[in-house]
Symmetry: C2
Subunit: 309 residues, 2 copies
């Protein structure tokens, strides 16, 4: 199977109660691609950077099996930059700076070799750009997953709704689900959102886990309680990458396998937040991932053998 | 097995975004006893009410197998009264009135027939009163569970710490765990709190589920995503009642069975919040409970058969 990943490849400056990191590599597509790369080796990246983006980071991605033929490198321009500061309790963050740079006029062009991709992961980005990617596909993909955020609901709701119509799985957080649906109950919100197009909805609740909705079914995967969350940046993107990576590697779109994909996404996200930026997601081993999955199993598993009489 | 339940039996006035209920029956011990009564028939209640408390409510409890020999009825006095209003998103509430009435000088007296109780559920109440109950036990119980809240951490921390030393299981919410421990990470908070005495800690996270900590083990039970939460009042008390009721009925204190007890507690709590006050917890059937448990199983269960290679 092939995975197409789309999104930002960028620099972040991050401040959390535990430290500061200045102009480190980040971006939705970076986290997504690294996370998916542990499951699958045919990953096709679509993104744009300036000529300030470090060559060794691109080399590291290539060695990991990430195809960069769809990466545009703009000479004389700068990569997208975001700076943010997390609140004391890590439950919120303030954006300190957003410099669009190369992203301002990003026109995604799919190399011909990408146009038959089977699993499509549209990372958080302008909805009209996400749509342009879908329009260039020449073969109907097996699955299109889209991640987005409240920002696009505020400024580009019509474009967002248009692209949401075309996808199979939407991943958003709980507040975004409430905003998009106008419903407070997540059960009702899920119903409204799935009527907009996607058959599956993943509601990410950060430290409170993730919900998967499909038909009348609901599955919940917890987040792993951690000793220390150093940096929540990229957790949602990592989740998305692990989710689609696992699905593509198993090529099984049953609800049962979707549930497993949610646990794999959650497991990888729990790794990402333990270090700053992409440090941890770049340096995992298969054993690390399997150990983390075993920890999730212990956290979640109970045998409800006997009912009350 | 026998269960001793201690706490308030009272009146509540409740306002939520979905309606208002004036002077309805509530109180921690009421919810706890009703919830436990579905599992077990030897329930011994210790509480105090005024002569304003409706006889038919007491009769209903007696018919359900709840022993009221330890209920003090104070002639010419009024029952404890609490009035509160929930915020629009149900995530918080304001207390509008608290009238201690009979609770002001409550001196719990255990009937002799209660003193050998094996499972003790100390509902949210003044820590020194919880302690007085423990001191009257003549036979070492199998399990003491204590529920409390931030209010007692603010005004009676030393008394609270003294009683926490004597118990086996503490149930509090996430913010209270952080306050009591001074740690933000719940993993660290759990370690600090268990050093205060209890071998087991349950951290209740409301709509985000509940965590059970013991030794190096952690178990997570989700809350059921609901169409509508009408009234969160009593959810934590109901959880505690279901938890201890299930444990007493199975008389099995293994970690595996504690996990099941957390799911039963969560299942009953998910019922309570669907109606105002005790309306729903008073009218459950065994089939209702077992159906709810099956729903929880579907929500939680995933087979992580194959690991990544």
């Amino acid at each position: 199977m092939s995975i197409l990943t789309v999104g930002t490849v960028a620099f972040d400056s991050i401040e959390t109660p535990f430290g500061k990191a200045d102009r480190i590599v980040g971006g939705a597509c970076t986290y997504i691609s690294w996370a998916a790369s542990y499951f699958h080796k045919d990953i096709r990246l679509v993104a744009v950077v300036g000529d300030d983006f470090p060559q060794f980071e691109l080399d590291a991605m290539r060695s990991q099996g990430i195809n960069l033929d769809g990466l545009q490198i703009k000479e004389g321009e700068k990569s997208f930059f975001w700076a943010g500061k997390y609140h004391e309790n890590m439950n919120g963050r303030d954006t300190l700076a957003t410099e669009l740079n190369v992203l301002a006029d990003f026109d995604p062009v799919l190399p011909d070799s990408y146009k038959d991709s089977q699993y499509i992961m549209l990372g958080n980005l302008t909805p009209s750009i996400q749509m342009k990617v879908i329009e260039q596909l020449t073969v109907k993909p097996k699955l299109i997953v889209l991640d987005t955020m409240n920002f696009w609901m505020d400024i580009a709701l019509d474009d967002l709704k248009a692209v949401i119509k075309k996808i199979d799985v939407l991943t958003i957080n709980d507040e975004e689900a409430r905003q998009l649906s106008g419903e407070h109950s997540l059960v009702k919100a899920a119903r409204v959102i799935r009527e907009m197009g996607p058959k599956y909805l993943v509601i990410k609740k950060g430290e409170h886990g993730a919900l998967l909705f499909h038909g009348e079914e609901i599955f919940f995967a917890p987040a792993l309680p951690l000793e220390q969350v150093f940096d929540p940046t990229g957790a949602g993107d990592t989740f998305a990458g692990g989710f689609i990576g696992y699905l593509a590697s198993t090529d099984d779109l049953s609800f049962e396998n979707m549930k497993r994909a949610v646990v794999y996404g959650s497991a990888l996200a729990s790794c990402t937040v333990e270090k700053f930026g992409i440090e941890k997601i770049k340096s995992l081993s298969i054993d690390d991932i399997n150990d983390r999955i075993r920890t999730f199993e212990k956290l979640m598993t109970v045998n409800m053998e006997s009912l009350v009489k």
